[in-house]
Symmetry: C2
Subunit: 196 residues, 2 copies
Amino acid sequence: MSTTSPIPGYAHDDPALAASPVTLDDLAKLQAGVLFGPDDQAALKIAGEVLGGQIEQILDVWYGFVGSHPHLLAYFSTPAGEPIGEYLARVRARFGRWIIDTCTRPYDQRWLAYQHEIALRHTREKKNHTDRADSVPDIPLRYLIAFIYPITATIRPFLAADGHDEDQVEAMFQAWFKAVTLQIALWSQPYAGPAW
Amino acid sequence: MSTTSPIPGYAHDDPALAASPVTLDDLAKLQAGVLFGPDDQAALKIAGEVLGGQIEQILDVWYGFVGSHPHLLAYFSTPAGEPIGEYLARVRARFGRWIIDTCTRPYDQRWLAYQHEIALRHTREKKNHTDRADSVPDIPLRYLIAFIYPITATIRPFLAADGHDEDQVEAMFQAWFKAVTLQIALWSQPYAGPAW
């Protein structure tokens, strides 16, 4: 996967992106809550290099997981239950870029703004809009939280594929686990409102 | 820790406990979402034996984590910021029992009912009530989700402490990770309402 070709609906660098309601102070506290620090940032940078050449294989695993569970595939399908190929493909391209961004982007205000946009794209407010998809109106919060497990557990063999030693793979894995948990916490914001 | 002494506010076996709005079918889909199966149940049973003798040490680690982060300790403190010793102690006893229950209880309708009660005890609806604590009114959802990381990552050395071989420790660890993620997904229910 090239990380430079334009990806439909990918808005990280869009200057028109609305600011997140999540502040940098909120983010710092959440990072402390998952023990995310500079060592994790460094480990993710290496992970980005390791994973960068394996994006399609990783997405094959994750899409295989979603595709084999009808109750998950439903969120990429019409209300009648027909999977929407173009919607799956467009999300897939952004999902691949998300892997790279998780590893390489600074977690700053711009990142928070796009995190919030991603969050909204799971909810009634914005799901389907970006891709003009004729799909169900939202993804229940519980499946976002549950997704922490497969998205984390399946990454380890890919992190190990470049022959880094066990300690380095472990450091990359822990950093990835923290980064995924952090992002799901951010994506829960529109679901919980004032109780977020 | 004895698992038979009465624990104030522990209501798993209380026949008056209200049913959960979460159905067994919801639970089965969530379990599939975290790849939780019979092998995990078996691994957790062994984990329960391994962790059972180390409950206080595990709680020392977790309470040390919370206690060292003022923004987390605040949820066990008065609105003015004074930690409430009795509240911390009463929650601690139930938290210890929660470790055992996570490993040994069948995930059935009764378990779902107490999961829902635990969920509510983090929210405005029920936080503080059980312990008549003069604390802040709720715990933000984001910190429940973030807690998946420390509660999972810190358990591995305790799982390894009984000398099981690496494959068995890994199986227990994965099962624990799944079970924690599953429960946080359940505890998010009152926060998200219809979007849960």
